[in-house]
């Protein structure tokens, strides 16, 4: 019976990791569309989660996001992921304008059951970086969702514009 529950938990962990990583993919696409990072005509409409979602048709961006989501899925299965941050920076000045922060809480019991002796190391396509924080940001908390194994909280920080203060 123990093995049955263990296998059930492993499958659920994998499924949850897949759901959350897929969500990140769609979230990244939505942010790129809504914040005007890429032009509107480069996005195509699809149906997902019962809503019309916009996905980029640029091959480079698509491959980038798919590589990203596959790596995130691995890390989520291992329970090593604490947070995923999408940073929008100015191309000219390199200044951080917006910081879309997805913080993840993982159920450690399920992860311990599912992971036995998995040795994880960061692949060579990922390097260490600074956190790209914004000084004195304006913060807006958005909706969170929970798969009973992974809980994702969303928060966006953006630069405090002088005009807003006036």
């Amino acid at each position: 019976m123990a093995s049955k529950t263990a296998t059930k938990d492993i499958i659920t962990l994998r499924g949850s990791a897949a759901i959350v990583s897929e969500f990140f993919g769609y979230a990244a696409n939505s942010i790129l569309y809504n914040r005007g990072v890429y032009p509107e005509e480069s996005f195509a409409r699809v149906k997902k989660y019962g809503l019309p979602m916009l996905l980029t048709q640029d091959e480079g961006v698509k491959s980038f996001i798919s590589n990203l989501t596959s790596q995130l899925s691995e890390w989520l299965e291992a329970g090593k992921l604490q947070r995923v941050v999408l940073v929008i920076m100015s191309k000219a000045t390199g200044e951080v304008l917006e910081r879309w922060n997805f913080s993840i809480e993982t159920d450690s019991e399920v992860v311990e059951k599912g992971v036995h002796g998995q040795r994880l190391c960061s692949p060579f396509t990922w390097i260490e970086s600074d956190p790209k924080l914004i000084a004195n940001p304006q913060m807006v908390k958005l909706h969170s969702f929970d798969t009973k194994i992974h809980k994702v909280d969303t928060l966006v920080s953006y630069k405090n514009d002088e005009w807003d203060e006036e």
Binding site: G60, N101, S129, D130, P131, L155
Partner: protein, 719 residues
């Protein structure tokens, strides 16, 4: 010790034999325990076999004696019944007292609860009042906070107004200056006009003087001409008065007409001149009037603007005056700023005082709560003391009543004793009987006294129980108060923790992390790099294709021209051949050069590869030998293909303490998981047992190998 032997079985079934079941006899635990009925039979039947005949005469009593005993018995019975009745009544009274005490206790508890509720209501009321006061304080604070804002707003308005007033003043001054300058200009113009007029007048006078002089001259000439004419006429009349000359008359007439014409012309000229002068004067006047009219119109427009400005300034002045009037202690605009500063200071002081007052109020609240609790406690203690006093009083009354009853009984018994004594005096023979009766009565008295003491003891016990209960109630109240205080503290801590949690959540949401257990990574292969790489790749590919095309063209050209070469025309063809062969040799040399380079590269790479291989072989052999030395197993790795065709890596371990070469362990390694392969050695019972324990149950191959190593080492060393 009375031995009770069961009777012969009369009431039980005959089939069952009688058994000797005795309470004092031990029975075997395994025997059947059957239920036997005991029957108390009259003494003679239970007696032993030998019976003593008892004479009936000895058992007979006298009738009198029996009657006396009976009467005494009945008396004693009645008295005992009375006593029982009394004791029952006393018991009932005590029960009633106890129930009363319980009711009083319940009533006291109810009163206590009511008092508590009242106090709670009072506390709530006081808290509401405090809250209202705090609310009013907060409103005052907000008003005071608003005051500096209003003061700042008013200051801003003041500054703006002062600036506008200054601007207006400047503008008005400028206008004044302009007006003055204009007036000066107009004055100068008017003076210039005056001078011009004066000049004209002087010129006109001069002209008139000249004309008068001319007129006088003309008159003189006329007079001279008239004189000459008269003289001529005289002369003519003297010379020939006979010959009247028509010519001279005509001349005269002509001259006269000319004179008249001249005079009329002169008059017309004068008139014209006068009219010209008038016209010029009028023109100048008109011009002046026009200019004046324009000036007045401009001044009128300016006047309306000035009037509006004046009105606005008056309104501002009125508002300023009203502001000055509203602000106490201010008489002029200069006093406003220091007054505002003073007001701000007052506001700050007021806020500080409000803070102090709030702190004091909180202290007072705390002390009020403490006082309320103390009051509560005192009230409960007072109520409990009252109850105790009442209970003591009731007990005293009870005891007094008991005492009264006992004295009554005593008196009655004394009377009975007296009567008996009298009876004994009357009947001397029954002294012994009365003595016994007295003894019995005394015994009953003693019993009653004992009973009374027992009742008193029970009363004391109940009192003690009551006091203990009241103490417990006190303790519970104190505990209740402590728990309430703890609850408040916990609520405050909870609020503080909630605020801390919200602060930490905001920090976490912002992106704070601990660098000790968190790594921040980003993807290297960004889109820009990808794009650049793609672009370079595409460019290289295009170049490669172009190069290939050019190579093919050159080859085709070379081949086609070499094949089409005509030997009959050696010169031209030779020339052509030379030229194409040049190109071909160029291509060939280029290609040969490339090939050489590539071959050299290949050679270097092959050398490098061999060097790497040797180095790797050395290192791996060192590693393998070290592993063997450290872990005690020679490991051989080879690739194997499973029956289903999947290639898999197989490791064969041979322990250095193995007694034979057949003692080999085999493991299959596939995608991070190692599985043991069953062979002859592992199918041995000892080894298979170890495999079951360490690998199957505990899922640890290192433990299995280590255990095997230790066992082999032990075997070796022992052998």
């Amino acid at each position: 010790m009375i031995l009770r032997t069961p009777p012969p079985r009369k009431r039980r079934a005959d089939s069952q034999p009688p058994e000797d079941v005795n309470n004092n006899n031990a029975q075997s635990p395994s025997s059947n325990r059957e239920l036997l009925v005991y029957e108390d039979l009259p003494v003679p039947e239970y007696s032993h076999d030998h019976s003593i005949p008892i004479t009936s005469d000895q058992m007979l009593c006298t009738y009198q004696c029996r009657q006396m005993v009976k009467s005494e018995f009945f008396d004693a019975l009645s008295s005992a019944e009375k006593q029982v009745h009394d004791y029952q009544s006393k018991f009932g009274a005590l029960n009633e007292d106890l129930s009363n005490a319980e009711q009083e206790l319940a009533a006291a508890k109810g009163r206590e609860q009511m008092l508590q509720e009242q106090l709670r209501k009072e506390v709530d009321f006081s808290q509401e009042q405090l809250r209202k006061q705090i609310h009013s304080f907060s409103e005052l604070e907000s008003l005071q906070q608003l005051k500096p804002k209003k003061a700042s707003l008013l200051e801003e308005k003041l500054s703006i107004l002062s600036e506008s007033i200054d601007r207006e003043k400047n503008r008005l001054q400028n206008e004044l200056l302009q007006m003055r300058s204009e007036s000066k200009l107009s004055v100068s113009r008017i003076s210039a006009d005056l001078e011009r007029m004066e000049c004209k007048a002087t010129n006109a006078e001069k002209e008139s003087a000249l004309l008068r002089e001319q007129l006088e001259e003309l008159k003189k000439r006329l007079d001279e001409c008239m004189q000459e004419k008269f003289e001529l006429e005289k002369k003519s009349s003297i010379r020939s008065p006979e010959v009247p000359s028509q010519d001279t008359n005509l001349l005269l007439k002509h001259l006269q007409e000319e004179l008249r014409n001249y005079e009329s012309e002169v008059r017309e000229a004068r008139k014209l001149k006068a009219s010209h002068e008038d016209i010029e004067l009028l023109k100048e006047k008109l011009y002046e009037e026009k200019s004046r009219r324009e000036r007045t119109e401009l001044d009128l427009l300016k006047l309306s603007d000035l009037q509006l400005n004046v009105k606005r300034l008056e309104d501002e002045l009125c508002t300023w005056k009203s502001v000055v009037r509203e602000i106490p202690g201010v008489s002029s605009a200069d006093d406003i700023l220091p007054k505002f500063a003073a007001l701000q200071k007052e506001v700050v002081d007021g806020m500080m005082r409000a803070g102090d007052a709030q702190a004091r109020m909180k202290e007072i609240q705390v002390s009020l709560d403490a006082a309320i609790l103390d009051k509560q406690n005192a009230e409960t203690e007072a109520a409990m003391a009252k109850e105790r006093a009442e209970s003591y009083k009731a007990e005293i009354k009870q005891l007094e009543s008991v005492l009264g009853l006992i004295t009554e009984e005593r008196d009655r018994l004394k009377d009975v004793v007296k009567e008996l004594k009298e009876r004994t005096n009357l009947d001397g023979g029954t002294e012994s009987v009365s003595g016994t009766i007295v003894q019995e009565l005394e015994a009953s008295l003693a019993k009653k006294e004992n009973y009374v003491t027992e009742l008193e003891n029970s009363l004391l016990e109940k009192k003690e129980i009551n006091s203990r209960q009241q103490n417990e109630i006190k303790l519970l109240n104190e505990r209740l108060a402590n728990e309430a205080r703890r609850v408040k503290m916990l609520e405050r801590e909870g609020d503080r923790l909630r605020s801390e949690i919200s602060l930490l959540e905001s920090k976490l949401g912002h992106g704070d992390f601990s660098s000790a257990n968190t790594k921040v990574l980003r993807m290297v292969n960004t889109l820009a790099v990808d794009n650049e790489a793609k672009q370079t790749i595409e460019a290289l590919q295009n170049e490669l294709q172009k190069q290939r095309k050019s190579c093919r063209l050159l080859k085709n050209l070379k081949n086609s021209h070499v094949s089409k070469m005509d030997l009959s025309k050696p010169v031209q063809c030779g020339f052509l051949l030379y030229s194409f062969s040049d190109a071909g040799t160029h291509v060939d040399s280029y290609i040969a050069g490339k090939i050489k380079q590539l071959k050299e590269q290949i050679a270097t790479l092959e050398k490098r590869e061999e060097r790497y291989k040797t180095v790797f072989a050395e290192r791996i052999s060192v590693f393998r030998r070290a592993c063997c030395e450290l872990f005690g197993y020679k490991i051989v790795m080879d690739d194997h293909q499973r029956p289903d065709g999947i290639p898999v890596t197989r490791f064969t371990l041979h322990s250095i303490y193995a007694l034979s070469d057949d003692e080999k362990l085999q493991f299959e390694y596939e995608s991070g998981n190692a599985n043991i392969v069953v062979n002859d050695y592992t199918s041995q019972p000892e080894i298979s047992r170890q495999v079951d324990i360490f690998i199957r149950k505990m899922n640890s191959i290192p433990a299995f190998t280590a255990n095997l190593t230790v066992e082999s080492f032990n075997k070796r060393t022992l052998s």
